[in-house]
Amino acid sequence: MEDFAALLDALVYTRSRNAKLKLLADYLRETPDPDRGWALAALTDGLDFPAVKSSTIRNLLTERIDPVLWTLSRDYVGDSAETASLLWPEPAEAPSPPTVSQAVDALSRMTRANVMTELPRLLDRLDANGRYALLKMATGAMRIGISARLAKTAFAQAFDVAVEDVEEHWHGQSPPYSALFDWAAHGAEPPSSEDLPLFRPFMLAHGLEETQVDLADYAAEWKWDGIRVQVVRAGGETRVYSRSGDDISGTFPEIAEALHIDAVLDGELLVRGVHQGGEANERTQGGAASFNALQQRLGRKTVSRKMREEYPAFVRLYDVLILEGEDLRALPWTVRRAALEALLPRLEPDRFDLSTVIPAADFAELSAIRERARDDAIEGVMLKRRDSPYVAGRRTGLWYKWKRDPLLIDCVLMYAQRGSGKRSSFYSDYTFGCWDGNPDEGAELLPVGKAYFGFTDEELKWLDRYVRNHTVNRFGPVRETDRTLVFEVAFDSVHASKRHKSGVAMRFPRINRIRSDKPAHEADRLETLRGLIRD
């Protein structure tokens, strides 16, 4: 438990992703089974001990300390587990900490009836850091910035195995993941994944930079602006996975309910919209709304009927990986595409349709079609090598994404904030605004967006100096500047938003150019930005 507590503490104070990976990988390599498996589960939020609640902690402590002092302390510290770990009376004897497994075992045996006597026994065996780790583990609220993806990457790093393999074998395993450690650490056969609705790592695309490709070798498809999902059915269960492999079946139950054939399908999750048809394929496909509409549905654990009716979700299919027991991933795209087209009539038409192939004779024609496409649900064009297998991750030369050219607008720098990690001493996060009228007639700047990339390291140094020399006000880590610097901001799209005073929200804004040549009053007005809204 001490090692786990030390790991937890180190992770709290470490900001760099690489350093976090190293801490985790070292721990996973050096800790015996099954402790490391339980620790991994605790970190990735996979443990649940129903007898221990946040209120249990409060009740335990207020039996031992005045409730007013507890509340004052809790309010100051802002975290019940941490407050309790600090307030817990130090045991008279030297601590004899349990192992992680022993702690998990003890916690899982606790019941509502005995938790008030059993939990103190465990706490008495630990020092303050150990108590913090135990209580965090027991209440399942780590919140220390370890995503499932990060944990898997660390696991791969620890045992020198491919992260794609970890992804594939991870799903369906339950804590303490013995089969997973047997495979990665001890060279055993990987755990079997048949008959389980497992996530398969996505195939990803490189950006098409200066390259042109021959459409004889590559097929072109629209790149839809939704979220990439994988719909999997096996062993009588259906799951919807996000790009990171998170199970989002609960957020989109209509999709999970609609697949009745054992298959692994790759597609774009979209929300039906009336006014965006997709001009190149309106005869064959129902319309999809912009990303903004889809956003209404994201991040909800449960979804109301009203939500389902107002924002009905469907999946526009790109690919099929596995169909009725047959793994198609090694076959060429053309074969998989034919299988997908043949499958479509057997799928529920309300929930599944097909991302059509763009009928362009050559690259020039495709280029022209892409230029004309102003459908908000289209993010650009995908180019897929016709003979490419379906491989996890980004493989050069197989798939390309060719995004629509960004929209541009000139904004004025208003506020800057210091970044984190290697940018921690630099003012690297910028808030910029547009004029709400004619600046020569007293119009004001309203913030329209925030960006922290798009510039080079040299430009960052220049910007940092600029911010320091043009500060008019400070609010904690934020500096207000004198509003003299113009940025050309690139963004993918802009939407109406009630949450922002300006009434607009930009998607993917980034600093395209620093326009130190342009006077601030010549920056764009809000009406220009509003004119670009298309939903």
């Binding site: 709290v12 005045d66 007013v68 302390s73 921690s424 001493s425």
Partner: protein
């Protein structure tokens, strides 16, 4: 009957000793100030006369470049002020020169602790428990979650990080008066005799400590160092320099901070600290409550800090207590 202890009046900008017409640690210029210790929020400039220990006056002279009106009072010397008030400066164990001030008038004894701690500190004499009728105590760390670990444990943490990362340096944020010198002295006591590198803002105060007989070993300025000199070293800087441009010249610094606030994880995270060192020059909860019990005054007045919890504790222990609302004491970096 006149209200008890009515000869001393807490006002938002300081404590007024009425018969002597002088103020303790006033936040604005007055004719006569009695100063507990040299931290800028307690020892402001511009008073007509300033009564303080010689060490504190030396610190103030360094800060304000003037000794006008300085009246040195060594520890333990009982001086007579106007109106039949006597005052004595008693060691408080906070920083060099820090004192509690004992005030006596008409048979009543009032002690203003200023900032204090109860632990050993190689840079100043220890807090002396002195009986009195009213104890005016600070409460900077007046919450039961604050239990500072032994300083040796925190110094060991620092040295372990240093040893584990020979290519990097450990940059410790520490208040320029008191914390920095105590940290250095504790490092020396733990057997660390390498050069310790200083931010320029630390230098004069460290020299002053050495002039007062506190050996700090080999200290040099970061501005005189080559980058390779700094790898594997301890660097001490004011907290404000930790994430500032100044630190860019350092070889991959491990950012540490020596402060009682480091006990709370989110506080450390907000300061972007990787290596929190819980080293405080203030009394923690156990020391605060023990001090009230040891001194055992008829009344406890609680000043700057988390007064509510101390007030509650006094209530639970059937002690008369009140909270004073004094302004101007900054404790964020300590």
């Amino acid at each position: 009957m006149a209200r008890e202890f009515s000869w001393i009046r807490p006002e938002p900008w300081g404590i007024h000793v009425v018969p002597a017409d002088c103020w303790i640690d006033p936040a604005r210029p007055v004719d006569r100030a009695l100063v507990t210790h040299g931290h800028a929020d307690h020892a402001r400039g511009g008073h007509g006369e300033t009564f303080a220990t010689p060490e504190t006056l030396a610190i103030m002279k360094l800060r304000y470049a003037t000794e006008d009106g300085a009246v040195p009072v060594p520890y333990g010397e009982r001086i007579a002020l106007a109106g039949g008030v006597h005052a004595t400066w008693i060691p408080a164990g906070h920083v060099l020169g820090s004192a509690q001030i004992l005030l006596e008038h008409a048979g009543e004894r009032i002690i203003v602790t200023g900032d204090f701690k109860r632990r050993a500190d190689p840079t100043c004499p220890p807090f002396e428990v002195t009986p009195c009728d009213v104890l005016v105590t600070e409460a900077t760390f007046g919450l039961p979650v604050f239990r500072h670990p032994p300083v040796e444990q925190e110094i060991a943490k620092l040295l372990a990080a240093l040893a584990a990362n020979p290519e990097r340096c450990v940059l410790v944020g520490a208040y320029a008066l008191g914390k920095a010198q105590r940290l250095i002295a504790e490092l020396r006591r733990a057997g660390h005799h390498d050069t310790i590198w200083l931010h320029g803002a630390m230098e004069r105060m460290c020299r002053l400590y050495e002039d007062w007989g506190i050996a700090l070993g080999d200290l040099r300025l970061v501005s005189d160092a080559r980058r390779e000199d700094l790898a594997g070293s301890v660097i001490v800087a004011p907290p404000s320099a930790l994430n500032d441009r100044w630190s860019r010249r350092l070889p991959e610094p491990i950012t540490a901070m020596a402060s009682g606030w480091m006990q709370v994880r989110q506080r450390a995270r907000q300061r972007m600290v990787e290596l929190p060192l819980i080293i405080s020059d203030h009394a923690d909860w156990d020391e605060l409550t023990r001090t009230v019990q040891d001194v055992n005054p008829a009344e406890t007045w609680i000043t700057h800090g988390r007064e509510e919890a101390m007030l509650r504790w006094c209530q639970l222990n059937q002690r008369r207590a009140r909270a004073l609302a004094l302004v101007g004491y900054e404790d964020e970096d300590d």
